[in-house]
Symmetry: C2
Subunit: 92 residues, 2 copies
DNA sequence: TACTTTTGGACATTAAATGTCAAGTCAAAT
DNA sequence: ATTTGACTTGACATTTAATGTCCAAAAGTA
């Protein structure tokens, strides 16, 4: 997104208030951004916040079970659990 | 599982090599065990290791996105990513 | 009551992630 | 060839979060 807008690391980093070295690493997936940083990035580029957050959190989830044999099954079970939680969120 | 076998915290904790206060908390979901502890627990009770690991990791995944609006969508996207990773694991 | 088991909470320890800085690489420009 | 600007790399510092420990309080039981 930054390159598409012909912006410099320095420029984006300044506005988003991230060290430019860190931003560089985030761009190349060497570091994970924080949730707040993701929000600021979304805002800065006029992107939908939720869209980026989904991308962000899904990356974190994948990272959590990277190189685990049971990764996929765990993910499927987790999804069911989330569904269950959402279902019972209201009525106590 | 411990109570079904009429065992005391002390007894299980000793074999598994966990502080019994910690084990108590793990039982009541106040603390997360480590992966190794899960393995030892499975072994101790003669349970299938993968089964417990799946339960363990799915809990961790859920925990990661607890009280996030986008939790479910993130989980679904994560699952797709895992599928993609598994698919391309061999070739290249 | 006396004894045992379990739990609660404060604190210590460890581990992992984020943040920072300075030096390094590379390409373009002159 | 040297300088300049953009980006990257790596070591290190800082922060954050989770795990582990200890001991006292609570709850249960004879």
């Amino acid at each position: 997104m930054r390159e598409q807008n012909s912006l410099l690391l320095r420029q984006v980093a300044a506005v988003i208030e991230i060290d430019q070295a860190l931003l560089s690493k985030i761009e190349r997936n060497e570091r994970m951004p924080t949730k707040d940083q993701v929000k600021r990035i979304a805002k800065f580029f006029g992107k939908d916040e939720n869209e980026l957050l989904i991308s962000f959190f899904s990356d974190k989830l994948v990272y959590e079970v990277r190189d685990e044999e049971v990764a996929l099954k765990a993910m499927q079970v987790a999804e069911k659990k989330i569904n269950y939680i959402i279902k019972n969120k209201n009525g106590k």
